[in-house]
């Protein structure tokens, strides 16, 4: 049984948006916790989040000051911001509405509930008081949807395209977080070195990798091992390596997959050659830049191959 290109594309985007929603919620939640531990004057501002999400131009076109209130509003509740939670949820819902037939019955209901919850709660979560509970609820709801898909969706095309979207978004987000984390820490004033472990643990938390890191690597946190872990620890489902393996597996079962598989190989090879300890912050940053470019190309290839085959 084949699948319409349009349906495949909507499934892919649904998964991307849901993953984006969860990741953004994690990012804001972990930063929210971190900021309370940071001593005044350490210059760790909320604009870091904008840099992670490449959203600075978008932000400054409508806000002046990157203070807590503005940034959190922009990332949680601003429907016009394409990287906000509110926007991601709305887009996911629009895509599920027209692909209900190929998804498990509960999908629409759960996504619709997520939509209603976000619509009613986002504005109230801008202040510190309700913020954490709201974000945790968002994360929980996204996980419920992923879990339901994982346990009930037949391993057919619908599953494969959902998986592609989910994993590529995750790769993208993980590399962004690591990149900014490394830059932030390595360029900062050594006076505040004492708070470094806090930042690293917050980074791991935002990628829900803190527990796994402690068990696998150990309780002590340093930048090099953290970066290596979230990029190359193949057993951890949030690591980039794990995502690439999943993408390869999903693509293998699709037709006309040669170019996509070649691109995945390119990414894997690049990842294998990475040794974080040999790089200075600048080199690391340019490495991640190149890597992100390859991820974007992978997206374009997926789009051309299966969603718009007539373009090739």
């Amino acid at each position: 049984m084949t699948m319409l290109s349009r349906v495949a594309s909507r499934l892919y985007w649904t998964a991307r948006y849901l993953e984006r929603c969860e990741d953004t919620a994690r990012l804001v939640a972990s930063y929210h916790m971190l900021i309370m531990d940071i001593p005044r004057g350490s210059e760790l501002g909320w604009d870091v989040l904008l840099r992670i999400l490449d959203a600075e131009p978008q932000f400054y076109s409508r806000y002046r000051v990157p203070n807590e209130q503005n940034v959190v509003k922009f990332l949680i509740a601003d429907r016009d911001n394409p990287s906000s939670i509110a926007h991601a949820v709305r887009c996911a819902r629009e895509n599920v509405r027209t692909t209900r037939d190929v998804l498990p019955e509960e999908s629409w209901e759960l996504v619709n509930e997520l939509h209603l919850f976000t619509r009613d709660g986002a504005d109230k979560a801008i202040g510190r008081r309700n913020r954490r509970a709201f974000l945790e609820d968002i994360i929980g709801r996204c996980q419920m949807i992923s879990g339901m898909v994982q346990t009930t969706l037949s391993r057919d095309h619908a599953y494969r395209f959902t998986r592609l979207g989910h994993l590529i978004e995750r790769c993208d987000m993980t590399t962004r977080v690591v990149d900014v984390g490394v830059m932030e820490l390595m360029e900062r004033d050594s006076r505040f070195a004492a708070i470094d472990p806090l930042v690293w643990s917050s980074l791991l938390y935002s990628l829900s990798a803190l527990g796994a890191y402690r068990r696998t690597v150990g309780p002590l946190l340093d930048g090099t091992s953290v970066a290596e872990f979230v990029l190359k620890q193949g057993e951890h489902p949030r690591s980039v390596l794990y995502c690439l393996r999943g993408i390869r597996e999903a693509a293998k079962a699709l037709s006309n997959n040669e170019e996509v598989l070649r691109q995945v190989e390119r990414l894997r090879r690049k990842l294998r050659r990475l040794h974080v300890e040999e790089l200075n912050p600048k080199q690391f940053h340019s490495y991640i830049d190149d890597f992100q470019l390859l991820i974007n190309q992978l997206h374009d290839l997926i789009d051309d191959t299966w969603f718009h085959p007539e373009n090739t």
Binding site: R97, T98, D101, F161, L254, S255, N256, W306
Partner: protein
């Protein structure tokens, strides 16, 4: 008999369930007896269960408003409408006869035009109608059938007889609600089914599949059938998805299809192009192919008409079918039945005055307060004037419209639409209703047992359209006595 039922009266109208003497009709006896035995609380609980089922099943329809489109839960009345098999058989025969004649007519109009040459119908009525599509001339689809799916609106007058009010031959909708209504009744009033044998309706999607499959240009065990929808913003999108799902067919939008150099239609899939054999078209023909019809359509498929004319794909309903879906042409259907089939019409039409005829027009203008005036060409209950209920100003407005464009208006006597007991905020009250059965025609013909009963939920209202405050009822065709 409890009080809510014993005081039930519907004076001056034919009631579907209760006779003038206040007794249940034979076919309805079992249902009425059971419902009478329910206390007020029990009725309310069943009503609530129905609302819950509707929400759970996600049965909705879309209402167009200024502030965007809104999905509304499907309005449903839990008291079923009951019709005996014997009565239904006659209606069903009449509908098949009618659909055969209409299809012969469409085929004739796009080919030899015998009926016009013989002067049965004035040529200009047909050929100048916006529903006549010159692009279709010379085509003769398989079995000579153009309108494979027809939804006819029936009403029952105070004489207890069924009349055909109009035939919808373009893209009639509502059938999914017919199927879902039965599903809801099974959930909330399962006891009703114990002593009855009610003809099932849930095989509609498979009947539709068979009809469509019989049109396939390729001999194949499982032809590729698609449902072509304008998309999520169409008011009947729920139904398009429902039918596609029920037939195991792909639900496609215009951009999903392309016409190849071989004039075959292909859908874009992740495995490359896949050839399509039959398109169940749920978009208006004006929007279906920008090459042949409206150039500005973004919903359509360029080249679709070419593919159809080359015989590479079947389209249901065939483009151009709407030529028989015109309220002026409607007036001639009894003539068509005699002309093409040499038979006597088995189901009545409503007497119709054509404002284009001078004599008729004069009568209409003098009797606006007694007549229903309709534009020849609208659907969905828009632009209708119900004379006895209209204000003097509205009547004057319509008189002006008729004089300005007589071809565009017809008038019919105000029928006394039948009523049925309806559960309204805790009491049982008579409400007016109509019935839309669906007639399928491919290699064989088939009529749904019953159809979609629409009910005007507002007291005294005759407008049953869901876009204007109408609801619906489950419709039973029951065998024997209960």
């Amino acid at each position: 008999m409890n009080k809510r039922w014993s005081s039930y009266k519907s004076p001056g109208f034919f009631d579907e369930l209760i006779t003038e003497k206040g007794k249940p009709r034979t076919a309805a006896r079992g249902a009425v007896n059971l419902l009478q035995g329910l206390t007020a609380d029990e009725m309310a609980a069943r009503r609530e269960a129905a609302d819950l089922a509707i929400r759970e099943m996600g049965i909705s329809f879309t209402v167009y408003t200024e502030g965007g489109n809104i999905d509304r839960a499907w309005p449903f009345d839990i008291i079923p409408r009951v019709i005996s098999t014997k009565q239904w058989q006659k209606v069903s025969r009449g509908l098949i006869q009618r659909s055969r004649a209409l299809n012969r007519f469409i085929d004739d109009i796009y080919n030899k035009q015998r009926i016009l040459a013989d002067g049965i119908l004035p040529a200009d009525i047909v050929l100048e109608s916006s529903n006549y599509k010159p692009q279709c001339a010379g085509m003769s689809p398989r079995y000579g059938v153009w309108a494979h799916i027809c939804g006819s609106d029936l009403v029952r007058n105070d004489d207890g007889r069924f009349y055909v009010l109009e035939d919808n031959l373009r893209v009639p909708s509502g059938v999914s609600y017919m199927v879902e209504n039965r599903e809801i009744t099974k959930r909330v009033l399962p006891e009703l089914f114990e002593n009855y044998s009610i003809l099932p309706v849930d095989d509609y999607p498979s009947r539709l599949y068979q009809t469509l499959a019989s049109l396939s240009p390729r001999e194949q065990k499982r032809p590729c059938i698609v449902v072509l929808t304008p998309g999520i913003f169409n008011s009947a999108y729920f139904e398009h998805a429902f039918l596609a799902h029920g037939m195991g067919a792909e639900l496609v939008e215009g951009p999903d299809l392309t016409v190849g150099e071989d004039e075959c239609v292909y859908m874009r899939t992740v495995d490359g192009p896949v050839r399509v054999d039959v398109i169940y078209r749920r978009i208006d023909e004006d929007f279906m192919d920008p090459e042949a019809f409206r150039e500005d359509s973004v919903l359509g498929v360029p080249g679709l008409m070419r593919a159809w004319k080359a015989g590479k794909v079947a389209i249901a309903n065939a483009p151009g079918s709407g030529v028989a879906d015109d309220k002026v042409v409607y007036a001639y259907v009894p003539e068509m039945i005699r002309y093409y089939l040499g038979e006597k019409p088995e189901i009545d039409s409503v007497p119709t005055y054509l404002c284009m005829n001078e004599k008729d027009r004069e009568y209409v203008l003098n009797n606006l307060d007694k007549l229903v005036v309709k534009p020849a060409n609208e659907s969905g209950g828009y632009g209708i004037m119900v004379g006895p209920h209209a204000s003097a100003a509205t009547r004057r407005k319509f008189a002006g419209l008729i004089e300005k464009n007589p071809r565009n208006y017809i008038a019919q006597p105000t029928l006394s639409l039948s009523t049925a007991p309806t559960y309204c905020e805790g009491s049982i009250e008579p409400r007016h209703l109509d019935l839309r059965p669906f007639i399928l025609q491919g290699k064989e013909s088939w009529v749904t047992p019953g159809g979609l009963t629409r009910v005007a939920l507002v007291k005294g209202s005759l407008v049953v359209n869901s876009s204007q405050g109408g609801g619906s009822k489950d419709t039973w065709i029951v065998e024997g006595k209960a």
